[in-house]
Symmetry: C2
DNA sequence: ACTTGTATGTGGTATTTGCAACGGAGGTGT
DNA sequence: ACACCTCCGTTGCAAATACCACATACAAGT
């Protein structure tokens, strides 16, 4: 049996699935393992994919490339995260490549089988379907938030929007963000130095305080 | 009966649902109609919502506001589109407001009922669930594309990425986009004049041709 | 204590983008 | 034909940001 309860216990997609249900899923989902070496491409633009990938070990980059060849990393998938779930359901051609950037150990399952089996009212599958929905919604909300932040017209507003999201996540105006300065700049798609300058300006104006990854928002 | 087959026939969420199934849904989904006047708020940040909204007539804006009060329109919902579906499933607090910007006629349905009833194996509900999944995935992919474009570091790359998406949608390097110049600038979150300048520069360099909404991409 | 390395902040300059003003093209109604 | 309007492109200038070089702070190892 490929679907191992120990391995899958930390993967959100399989939360709440019992060992018995897992045994059934093992026959339904056609699970298979793939090892990818660093730099190996898993799929290319225009591919239509059938499987959802799950990172057991390693790191995958989703890379988009425009008509003239400029590249951009759209997403990174690390341990226990899913990739390809949306495109394998909608069966639309990819608009990006998937590349392993570390030696990776991957589990693939036949996504369409979740939808098919859901019609039979199988309990384990319905849980899986619901988990899948939850994960996709979470990803959708994350992309929405990112688009919200990136659509702000200048650096000050991007920083403000980003910190407001973090403030909302934490519930208090004093919190620690999960990024260092460079990662924060990357998320905001701005230059690190420009970000440092803007933060320092905002601190001087008294609207926030910070030190490394710790921030405190202030009303005037 | 509130769920009217004629009205719903153009709404993607109800595609493929038979008239009989619709009658059952009418009792299950607790549908209700609401008329909103222009400027009326439908919900506020931090609200936890129970319903998916469907625009029968009118226009709704999704507006986010940061800690210091800067506003941003994240999304616009027009006739036959859904809003609030993700948050009413995940039951996480909103990070935006919903406002009618025209007198609007709205249909609301109890989202959680779709998930509950799916467990009973009801056929109409399962179709609805699947339609919902498809819509959410489509929205997710759109936000992904938008985030991809907006995360490009300068205007040239934003334009390139945007036109490449349109190229991929159309399949040929010569196509018409569904925006005028101002709308295109808004989508890219840049100044209209700056966009005109960049396009004109790219035309001079011979990497593309355009006239109003028509574009042609060229390899060098 | 010293070296090394990494993360962060700062200053100066070049480049990009925003902004305001304007002119031309094309459409519409009188 | 004329006035009027909207959309688009252009120009000049101001403001914001990227880029480069370097200083400082802090942590880890020797």
């Amino acid at each position: 049996m490929i679907l191992n309860a120990d391995i899958l216990s930390h993967i959100p997609l399989f939360q709440g699935i019992t060992v018995d249900e897992l045994a059934r899923l093992d026959t339904v989902l056609y699970p298979h393992i793939k090892n990818a070496s660093s730099g190996e491409f898993l799929s290319y633009p225009e591919d239509v994919i059938e499987d959802t990938g799950i990172v057991l070990e390693g790191r995958i980059h989703m890379i988009s490339e425009d008509f003239w060849g400029n590249q951009n990393i759209i997403a990174e998938f690390t341990k226990n995260t899913l990739f390809g779930e949306a495109h394998s359901i909608s069966r639309t051609p990819l608009f990006f490549s998937l590349v392993a950037v570390e030696p990776s150990n991957l589990l693939f399952i036949r996504t369409q089988q979740i939808l098919n089996a859901a019609r039979c009212g199988d309990n384990g599958i319905l849980k899986l379907y619901h988990n899948l929905m939850t994960i996709i919604i979470q990803k959708k909300l994350n992309y929405m938030k990112k688009a919200d932040i990136l659509s702000r017209r200048n650096l000050r507003e991007k920083v403000s929007a980003f910190l407001s999201e973090e403030y909302q996540k934490n519930g208090t105006p004093s919190f620690t963000i999960p990024y260092d300065r460079q990662q924060m700049a990357d998320y905001l798609s701005v230059d690190r130095c420009a970000l440092s300058k803007e933060l320092s300006k905002m601190k001087k104006e008294g609207i926030l305080d910070y030190r490394h990854s710790w921030f405190q928002l202030k009303t005037l």
